[in-house]
Symmetry: D4
Subunit: 251 residues, 8 copies
């Protein structure tokens, strides 16, 4: 290992077999990550307490199962394990690797819960506009929960029936971070953002037809939100929204 | 004139110089508008009671003034005259043609009011989201008024401060047609549409920056509105919205 | 019910068990819709006489059937029930819930007619350009009829054979509202709009190939219509056009 | 000249100073255009009788004047000379080079007419939708005329007032080629194409605002025309349309 | 029939039961197409000698067969019959209606040849860039032939191997109209256009991947062609190109 | 005040001048914000300690000065005042309203600092890629500071010289929230996001040319970031990024 | 053959049966490629030592097998043979034509290796961002190897974990040409470009979802790269990148 | 300096004041660039022999002059100095800093030539399509020359007059790298790429109008080039093309 190589150089200096000047020369040619740089990444993982995540889409059931097994072998980690964008075939393979794996079909998430510890400071509230936005909302909800957050949800509160949303202002006010999922015109985050002081993570969905262009209309709507506490993630990216929300909820 | 030509043919038939069969042959080759078709257009104008309109943009002040003078010469018409997308130069020229011409600088409309008659059955309400949407909203408001409608307005009621809009639900409920003007994410028509039973004409504005793309974000938002009583006109087309609203308000 | 809660508070004030100041505190925390707000929505439904609608697409046959059953249970409502964007599987499930359900395969609409009452004041005319636009046109036609309107149609009158349209000018002139359905270049609403005084709701369809871009060409054509009585709804949104037309036809 | 080089090789073969095999080697290395290829181009110019054209835009007045002078020096050519997309400055410079130069301000064309000979077989008719399309229409008209065609025009016959177009069906029917210029929704070529048997060259213009996107709406409308005798050139390309029409009118 | 109505009016005039002035009034209210307008369309068909065409795509095999049968019943017409964008199922159904139907699988065209008469004045040459452009090229070729034109083709002469095209300059020079089919960068029409004096109809194809965007790259390339004898039709519209070419070849 | 109105109703109930049933009727017609709703908004402002902000763009210098004066008149508020997207003319007018106004020309911000109180819990770090991104970065920096946050910056650390960024990993690690400003390919947030555990607010800028399309390339890059702690605001929206960061830094 | 024709002409000149002038006339009408032009192409192939390539996509297994057989028949060529975008069916057919054919399923390439000769001067390094980019990376790698280059690869070194890339700076520095494959935000080429002096060929992949728009985000990111040694090929075009890299590696 | 810090640590080890294990700990926390990393960048500059470059656009004349002065002060560097996208004002300021500064107005480049040394191995040929592409072509040409390459050019050889290009095949064949500049349909690189074995760097220009969309048409054309030795840089990026070409010409 590189630590050893470095030690050897330093021992040589100590033993005066190598002058400090020469040692500098050799140190310069060592890949810097050997000096511990790679550990930064490791530390980050520890600090964040994030779950371990596998993107199921584009992998064979066997590949996913292999990765999950490798995660399970790391005895010192007790992080929850998530497989996103999975299907029944992937679940069958993962189930064999871990009996405690559960499949949430609506969101396409396989979850292996190894800890129920809550590390987020407040509640993450997932709000969604229409019933067809629920799969993306659920992806966000489950991800946020598996990453150690208290979560709540509020579904089917689209802006064309504004009173449905206003009924729940208390719930909105109590959330530390809000994830707001909407397709079609993507107007919900603007209204929600205007009602609360918390940061709002807007997730456009590909729900809609015609000029919704697979979520572009909602995405543009959210980027142009007139509420100043709204930021945006990629179309259908419930997982990403939960990551950001989780990361905010921990600070 | 063509009426005369037709009369001549018929007189020939009457005088038996022309057989009915031959007359048919000749009639077939007459442009049909000679049979009075062009008048349909004229009749439509009468039925609609619409104002006479000149698009100022792309014309010289002199050209606009000439057209206005021609309109004023038609003694039998008492329609109001509108010049849209005008500026101070155009106004100076039009003012000479008609002392009663007035220039509304915010909306860029020159109006020559010749009748204050109200022909629309109910009130047209113009609602707008932000202060920068006001020029387009005013274009709609003035056009609707000059076309013989009772008009009201409700400005600066964007969705990020939803209570400002909700305060005026009574006003919204009383309108027969609503014109809803918004830039940025264009979410206002969805919220308004959900609060009323009247038809809502949505006008996207080019207000915004970056990913608003000159009004495309608002346009897409409105086309994808989750409220089912919303239709859309072109970006910044306050004039067009007023025409449609006027036409609905008359039926 | 919430009315009751409010009454209870007021009775307590009357009974001097609760001071007005304390009552205010409690009133503030009542969701405002409890103060009658939610009824607005209810009233709107009553006023509009709109059919009850389920979007079939994206729901399982069972889910649709459950919703339809719930609608049928509401004994006091006699609204027609529509399932849009349905298929044979959905129909099979709905048929079990209601024997009177009928499936219009071309438009993908399941209709349960419970009333034939006409509440619209005039006729809604659905005009379409090509034979491939008929599914969207039929969606509009059926929806409009089920919402209590007298409907007529005029199909296959595309602008490249302008005489086919002109033959029917009388029919066009008699309509109170016109829905104009067209794909490809979407030119029909401009021509129709120029022939009538009624409002024209333009529906772009995704019919075409290549540079029609799934209806964008038609959509842009309609938004840029040179006829001033034209408004536009989303691509393939025959249902939405009928809602707006219905809402205009009732005022 | 290259002919000479080739002749020299062949004379050497004739004189037996060069073997046929060696001659082949040398011939292979001659640029092929030396074999008369370049003349093809020359012949084409002669065959087509096209005018000589300078694109004024992006050149200084001096540069344009120089090119025009060079054209005037070619004593054997009597082609008309056109400068397109020119302005007053360019005209001032060109005027000095040729007293007979004339500036058509609307279309931005400077024309030096050296022949009035008609080489096109029929009439090219330029049809345009709105008054703002006239500059592009005039560019087409003047170009076509200067290229030796009989030309006619029919302006302000947009589809929202279809009877204005229908009045002139005879004129439409008599044209050998039609150039159809329209902005906004670009619907005119479809209607015109449906009325005639002649080829229709459609020219989208950048006229319009908002969702006309600088002519894209019109362009897409024309590409998706439901009339099968319509082809399209670039936005605002009146010149190009005239070139194609001229080339068709000569065959 | 309307002819009769007209006759009746004229007979009344002749019989002096109706004054010419009154007759005019009544004529105005007759739909103009009753005066023979619809025949214009009929005449056009005769003049053009175009084949009768059914778009197979989006129709059931039975529907297509019915239409074909109706065409075959019109005893006085000897036009060829084309079904475009057809498949094996459609062919099976059409074959039953007409034994002489032939299916060209590459282009998806079913042809019923009833006449081999050549009415086009010159040769239409179909040029294509790559082997994958051949289906569109064949659609153009077959359509042009069935519409009574002499046709030739030149395939696989893409611009990255320019000598393959240049070898055939003679063939290019002899064509009266050229149809130029290309996907990817769509550069072929510019090169071909520069080599000939004939009009070039450019057909972009959806061949390519990535940034070819289903033919947009080729379409834009062709619209921006630096050759001035190039016009463009819709993506993959081999049929349309043949219609235009045919219509040019007849004048 | 509305509280008073409500009190009056309740006192009447207490005094039995008004029955509870009648009281309900009257309560229904009170605008709901009278029940304290409007205060939520007010409270939110207090909780957030946000600065008062005027968007300078699109307003006249006089209008901006008037608004600032009104803000200054509210004696009980000590919030800082910001005018964004201002210019020298606006500054001249504002300067007259408040001597302590300062103009930061690079970012176009006028600031009237009335409090230096720090209410944010940690440091907001503004990172930018190129020197041309600095105006947007400065808008973010100043806004964040005026909203009561400790701020730091790190400019000119674009990814094509990755070592410049890596030198400052300590600074990156210490920030509680990071605002990451970049034009062109917008890659910086992905790299920064991978180095830290804090949330990263990405701001695409319109810096670049050609295929940067006024910031679209950067926007898309950021939306597709492979780092899971990145969210995005509108192009050039440094102000919005600071609002969100501020709002996160307060929780 | 054409050489013979030319020889015959020259022999006739030598034999004085043909005058040099007449010979010129006849030479002009010979297709110029007969003068050896076609050989240029042939020579280019020899110089480049490129493999022979068949695009599998869009061809039937039989068609591909036929082409491969034809290639194998050319006895004098020892180039490697590649079939790109192939599948198992195509492989089955090709396998019959050549037993030594091997199918690389990940990249969809069938390779018939006939020479292992290395003609490239240095090493081509293929770098890729995520695991889903590997198919495109492998297409590039295999193509480059079969074209006679020493190749290396470095996978899964996306910019959100920058240390993974930095660990391999030595490898990066040693490459003569780098192919850099990335989807999503496409940031990798900018970072790699900043670390090396070699030319970097960037390949955007269609990996991603939502606003990645099938590779457009990555494509734009790469075109706007702030590193000045980066050029770009089409989305998913691993093959093309290898061709360019190969061509650079040979000079 | 950091070298010193490192030296100090090593001296402490040597002096046995610090154990090797403790030294490792401290080394880990040193920013790695202190170990000489930053020099890599420096070395790269030396190796490449690239000119020093200032982007003039977006900087004041004074700022540019300051940067140039700083460059001139580095006594040990003899690199040429380039200011790109400059204008007359910037030149006036730079001229004062260096008398030998020269302004090439067409390309907007200011060059201070300090060495005429040629370090590129072959010739870089810049080919351009139309006269309006020359500014971008000149930017490429001058940049390449100032970076130590032998350069040649070939202008006005657009594909619509293919013989003009073919005349110069020898010149094309002799280039080691070709930069190919074209606007409009961007077809030139495909044709050039097919004629040579050298790598072709394609530069789309924003030349054109209408559907050229500021260079998008040319960009897409080049990305979809059917020639396999073509790569692409950003629109109008003549400078970038020269950097890549220079970097290839040195390997």
């Amino acid at each position: 290992m590189n630590q050893r190589e470095l030690l050897k150089i330093l021992e040589s200096v100590k033993a005066r077999k190598l002058s400090p000047a020469k040692a500098i020369e050799r140190l310069k040619h060592l890949p810097f990550e050997d000096l511990g740089f790679a550990k930064v990444d490791h530390h980050r993982a520890l600090r964040q307490g994030f779950a371990e995540v596998v993107l199921g889409k584009g992998k064979t059931p066997q590949q996913v199962a292999e990765i999950v097994k490798a995660m399970l072998r790391k005895k010192d980690s007790r992080h929850n394990i998530l497989v996103t964008r999975a299907d029944r075939q992937i679940f069958a393979a993962v189930k064999k690797a871990s009996r405690s794996a559960k499949f949430h079909e609506v969101s396409g998430i396989i979850a292996i819960e190894r800890t129920a510890e809550i590390s987020g400071k407040g509640t993450i509230l997932v709000v969604s506009a229409g019933t067809s936005d629920i799969p993306v909302a659920e992806e966000a909800l489950l991800t946020a929960r598996m990453m150690g957050n208290r979560v709540e949800h509020l579904y089917d509160v689209g802006v064309a029936g504004i009173h449905r949303l206003l009924e729940h202002r208390e719930k909105l006010a109590q959330a530390r971070v809000i994830i707001c999922v909407a397709g079609m015109e993507g107007a919900l985050p603007s209204v929600v953002g205007g009602l609360v002081a918390a940061p709002v993570i807007a997730v456009p969905t590909s729900v809609g037809y015609g000029a919704s262009f697979g979520g572009i209309a909602a995405l543009l709507g959210m980027l142009n939100s007139c509420a100043s506490n709204v930021t945006v993630v990629n179309i259908d990216n419930g997982f990403g929204a939960a990551c950001v929300a989780s990361c905010i909820n921990r600070i």
